[in-house]
Amino acid sequence: MRIHVALSLLFGASAVFAGTSPLWLSHDKHFTLSSPEASTNVVATLTHAPQVPPPTGRKKPAHVVVDIEVKEVVAPIAGDTTYTFWTFGGRVPGQFIRVREGDTVELHLKNSPDSKMPHNIDLHAVTGPGGGAPRTFTAPGHQTEFTFEALRSGLYVYHCAAAPVGMHIANGMYGLILVEPPEGLPPVDREFYVMQGDFYTAGGYHEKGLQAFDMQKAIDERPTYVLFNGAEGSLTGPNALHAKVGERVRFFVGNGGPNMVSSFHVIGAIFDRVYREGGTTVESNVQTTLIPAGGAAIVETTMRVPGDYAMVDHSIFRAFNKGAVGTLVVDGDAAPNLYSTKTKDSVWLGDGNPFGAAKTEKKSGDAMASGARVFASTCAACHQQQGQGVGRAYPPLAGSDFLMADKDRSIGIVLGGVQGRVTVNGQTFDSAMPPHGHLGDEDVANVLTFARNSWGNTGAPVTAEEVAAKRANGTPIVKVAQ
């Protein structure tokens, strides 16, 4: 009975459809906002990332037609992995729209006949409930239109808001619309379009083949990929961005989400200016800027030093393990005064004594026992417990002709370190030993006495007085002449 009742009601509803369409599904009414200033008619130039349309250059508002086709496409997401993207314009992110504050924007949304899903567009630049979504809900093989006035300047995200909305966004349905302020943005040398998004595939990271959307991972907010411009490698290698030393570069950075908030950072650059969250507040000297899901920022930086700059989400595992990396290659002359080359690279052995510096052995009368302790904590890491050394890196002390030949030189080496080529038992070592002047006279004397009388070595003991005398003469690093 219930079904019969429902059915008759539904037939009634269908009759409504057969005649005039409900207002919110209307596809043949043409709404046009009229503005006395909007006399110029313009068709918006749309660009795919990373390209940005040129500035509008207009001093007055215009009537701007924006024409976007939604396409569902299978494309690489990483290497040999493909994914079914739902797109504004055939790629992720959607095409960049650039208009001017006060423009009347007539938006045409076409949904490809090959689409399986109905789609729509919610532009955050729109003032009005749903942001355009209810006006543009479009079945496959159909097109809709609506008009809005771009009341407020700023950089705004647009996205599909058809149910289930998270899935439409997770499949890549987002892009950016820039509403220029009346005076335009200050000129720069280059502008780029970068948009982050998180993706949820049934297979793991880099698992090959066509990967299905994984609803549970999306609900749990565990992305398989976090990407710039919809694919791993879309901004690296042959796809890297390019600029020259001295140029000012502006990035229009969006974050489609659906879940992750981006910590956008360019490694080795400080942002001169950040239009925080795409609005009118400009901050200077910013290292990392937070971009919410469904938000955007304009960042500007001046390239002063040549080289490769990595763009990352500084939630850094996303960059390292989920793909959120791009590259800006800057060509030009080196600027060593700003950023030198590596000017030194040498061995550092640490402080050596984990028990603290300048620890002095009390006079115990047992120089050998004391020396053994100093040796174990300070010397054995390189010269080894049995004084045997390590390969060609650290020379042996056991049976060392070099050690035993010159007591005074050995004291000098412990105090001041040694640098240069050393020949021990006929073998050459080209390494370095740091100074150990922080050891007290007693410790230096005892460790040398120990080394000169262990592992088969026999030699005269070294006294604290000898060490003190040597130290008093200065303890420069010993340079061994060959």
């Binding site: 689409s115 749903g130 093989g141 549970q216």
Partner: protein, 234 residues
Amino acid sequence: MIAAVMGAVVVAIGAGTYRPLFPPSPNEAQIAVAAFSMDKTPATNAELLAFVKAHPEWRRDRIARIFAEPTYLTHWASADALGDAKPDQPAVNVSWFAARAYCSSRGMRLPTEAEWEHAAAASNTSADGANDGAWRAEILSVYSRPSPQVLPSVGGKTNFWGVSDLHGLVWEWVVDFGNATSAFASGADRMRFCGATAAGASDATDFAAFERVAFRTSLHASYAMKNLGFRCAR
């Protein structure tokens, strides 16, 4: 019970319960579905061609524009010949009006949304696949892929009831597709978009059901789309 009608196989579907994604009212969270019968497969090009020949007012060159948009049956070579369209492919580019007329000519009707959803809730092994995560994930992944350029023939794997092709071949008309629209859209623009759609949904994780509701919501009765077919019930 299986019976042949005009060459089509009709399958019996047992009574059951339909849980609407957007219950029309709190008292209708579950809707009883009486036993009924439906075509084992979607209507085919061959079946629709026979219908059009017998009822020439439904030819694409004679149909009133109010009953079908210009894409109606445009995948055929002419108004009364299939050409490259295969006889056993599902009939698509058919408006709600034409689908209803076809079913009526067979003494049948379009299924209700409740009937269709009840039949389609069955997995291969159970009358209710709602708790079968793998089965639900498979449906979602099938929906996510773009429509193939050349549609397969009807007669894929059968489900618990012995019905084929409910998921993944083509979308299908239901007689009360506007019911989805009105439930989904209750309160004007309020419920239909973005995060707001989850509010009031009976199961916010049944994305495939969201997609079917969203799809039905996007339709007008005159629409004729290349991935939208139908089957009959009684």
